[in-house]
Amino acid sequence: MAKPVVSLDQVTIRFAGDSGDGMQLTGDRFTMDTASLGNDLSTLPNYPAEIRAPQGTLPGVSSFQLHFADHMIKTPGDAPDILVAMNPAALKANIKDLPRGATIIVDLDEFSTRNLSKVGYETNPLEDGTLDSYKVHAVGLTSLTVAALSELSLTRKEAERSKNMFALGLLSWMYHRPTEATENFLKAKFGKKPDILAANLLAYKTGWNYGETTEDFAVSYEIAPAKMPAGVYRNISGNVALAYGLIAASQQSGLKLFLGSYPITPASDILHELSKHKKFGVITFQAEDEIAAIGAALGASYGGALGITTTSGPGLALKSETIGLGVMLELPLIIIDVQRGGPSTGLPTKTEQADLLQAMYGRNGESPVVVLAPATPNDCFEIAMEAARIATTYRVPVMLLSDGYIANGSEPWKIPDVSTLPDLSVEFAKPQEDFLPYLRDTKTLARPWAIPGTKGLEHRIGGVEKADKTGAISYDPVNHDLMVRARAAKVAGVEVPDLVVDDPQGNAEVLLLGWGSTYGPIAAAVESLRANGENIAQAHLRYINPFPKNLGKVLEKYSKVIVPEMNLGQLSMLLRSQYLKDIIGYNMVRGLPFTTAEIMEAAMEVLHD
């Protein structure tokens, strides 16, 4: 008899296991299958800084959370409805995030006395009543997998390794996910290792069948596709979207893409991604350190390429002096900082927004740069092109502040029609008499981009202050004052779109204002608050330097402005100093994105104080 099917409007699943258990892959596959079914979704990978912390310990737990729904959603979900815990450590590390009534699937085989004591469980939580308020399915994931693969000529260890595919199969049955894409993925991945391929496919299938046939799982669930605008979609993470945006910028500008980078979490994937696309003429240069990486990018820009460097906080610190040189040389340069927890090494794999002031001011002298921040993984594509537009039009370093949450999180992306992408073509200085390398364009205040190889434009530039127009070395006090102001005016005059405020009733008193990756939880909170009858406005800054021209007016309009940030109030400080507006900061630095509930609570306090 067929089992009953229950319809849900949304689900949040968390896969958790040892970092060697393949949880990120399992999560990725479930995500792809979910995306192809047409649900809206949002993901949050969370992995330890150590590649392989000791097996079965709390520091070694890696997890992947996925929120999917039959409607548009903004976040990876506050709390999981269902937790898959591959061992006691994964259970212990994640149980606190689980609301009562949630479902837990554990690998029963891993709950040995030894493994339990490794993480400080004195008694077995599966037996001592601790989990009474949850729906627990204790399944012998390991033993069932090994038994299913007994016909194959594999060692026990090799067979055990497929248990994540058993879990994936089981969950795929529970939520009616299609299987072809994952089967094809496995075939592509293990095509050259027939034994391993067979093991994975069989474990996957066995997991599915286990759900369908055993009595342990009585119902399965259906989540209808979300209504999304028509188009072709794919799932995309922020780092991949940035890489694609940079390639698009290179294509749309006709400039060679040159990336100088030094590996650092969570920015390395941009380097990896761009390195795959050499057929776009992309040059990726893995330098000896971050200083060399940005130096090479600047050198390439000088030569007429689209010079880019990617890093995270500690690397940005090393790049400061060269960014200052870029300010002085007035050459295009894109600096991408995928922020992580700091200071120092901080929390390398966790997210934070605490590099904002470093981006704005972390250099000697008056050294303004443009600062942009993408709001979502999708937004990374567009903002990369924006960074290129501004850098090449105004000949300035542009800082792009992503963070670990956007970088690794993913969501469906409506693939843009290539013919609608902006024209980013640039003009280099042409051969001319009496060339003046520091003669500014009257509109943009940009100086000419005169690249080596152009006859008759031979000139010298450098970090020593330059005389207006001629670019000769100048120690003249009046000239220095003029040039400092000119560089500041150029950045201040960068054209950016006005801030759009979402205030449906037009008379809200309270504004929730965010920047960067807090967009998701803020938007989700605003949606829920309004559903509860609250009147609240929302706006999100993608341009931080310069701020949108209407920002002052917007701030004036609202009696209370709440700014949630994953730092101790850095945007708040900028807003207060520039607009003399009192800002209500809502600040947390736990290495995790805000939950929707937290922002709702913070807003409620202000709405009803």
Partner: protein, 333 residues
């Protein structure tokens, strides 16, 4: 190819040269300006990139493209430029502090990669611009403002360091010997890949006479061990002979001329050039000058660009639409 007839004047900028009177940088500048027409590269395709230091003012005085960058980082900027613009001739101008203290890391990595850069290291064995502190090439015991009791650090031997960093071309010359420096520049330009040229440079203000033993008529013939490809390595008084796997300095009369080491700049074994480099000690009584090593090795930029052209030849140039729609996609009607 069109004949390019440029002169020294064409390579001289309108900027007033501002080194101290008698500074060795003047003669190096003059030699380079005189040499550049011979390089045969259009002026607009020549780029000089420097770091910070007295010597790093050099690009301002040349009427080519130039960048006076930041302390120690010139090799990084020059690498990005040379890799992305293989049509250019890129020179790096650096001092002993610039290249061996703050920029030591970049120097060794540029050399190991073999980026097509000609690196002119002006070694005055002192920090000139910051007014006379000891440098990483200063002899031990050097008394300066920052080391009133004498410096303690063991100096770097820039040639040994470069050879250790897998450099494919390494040479040494002297500021005042224009003919010799020109020959070395010529060979460096002909070399594909990075070339490091250490140039002993006098700083009359803070380290005057540091290289006098190599310049005074009385001592120089005995002190300069001249390295010429295919000829025995010797000074007026001494020569080098093989001693096991190493080299030994002997008085000329003590061995037969035929026992002297015949110089081979293309010797693939770096330990040969390394052994030669060890004869330059702090006292500068026996100093090899000339080209230590000039071996063929794949140039970095052409390899980088080769990977790109190979993949385009094999798969065609990238198409943005194809890229964006790659992987698992689905359609919402």
């Amino acid at each position: 190819m069109t004949e390019i007839t440029l002169t020294k004047k064409d390579f001289t900028s309108d900027q007033e040269v501002k080194w101290c009177p008698g500074c060795g940088d003047y003669s190096i500048l003059s030699t380079v300006q005189s040499y550049l027409p011979e390089l045969g590269v259009p002026r607009e395709n020549v780029v000089f990139i420097s770091g910070i230091g007295c010597s790093s003012r050099f690009p301002y005085y040349l009427n080519t493209y130039g960048m006076h960058s930041i302390h120690g980082r010139a090799p990084t900027i020059a690498s990005g430029l040379a890799i992305s613009r293989p049509d250019l001739s890129v020179f790096v101008i650096t001092g002993d502090g610039d290249s061996l203290s703050i920029g030591g890391n970049h120097l060794i990595h540029a050399l190991r990669r073999n980026v097509n850069l000609k690196i002119l290291l002006f070694n005055n064995r002192i920090y000139g611009l910051t007014k006379g502190q000891y440098s990483p090439t200063s002899e031990q015991g050097k008394v300066t403002k920052s080391t009133p009791l004498g410096s303690l650090d063991t100096p770097f031997n820039p040639i040994s360091l470069a050879i250790g960093a897998e450099a494919s071309f390494v040479a040494r010359s002297i500021d005042s010997d224009r003919k010799h420096l020109t020959e070395v520049l010529r060979a460096a330009s002909a070399h594909k890949g990075s070339a490091l040229i250490e140039i002993y440079q006098n700083c009359p203000i803070f380290n005057d006479g540091a290289f006098d033993s190599l310049k005074d008529n009385e001592t120089k013939e005995g002190a300069l061990l001249k390295m010429v490809h295919g000829e025995p390595i010797k000074s007026a008084t001494h020569g080098l002979v093989h001693a096991g796997s190493s080299l030994k300095l002997v008085e000329l009369g003590s061995v037969a001329e035929s026992d002297l080491v015949v110089h081979d700049v293309h010797n693939p074994d770096p330990s040969y050039a390394f052994a030669l480099s060890r004869f330059s000690n702090s006292k500068l009584d026996h100093v090899p000058v000339g080209i230590f090593r000039d071996v063929e090795r794949a140039e970095y930029g052409s390899q980088v660009n080769g990977q790109i052209s190979d993949i385009i030849a094999a798969q065609g140039a990238g198409d943005l639409k194809t890229l964006l729609t790659s992987g698992d996609t689905w359609t919402v009607a």
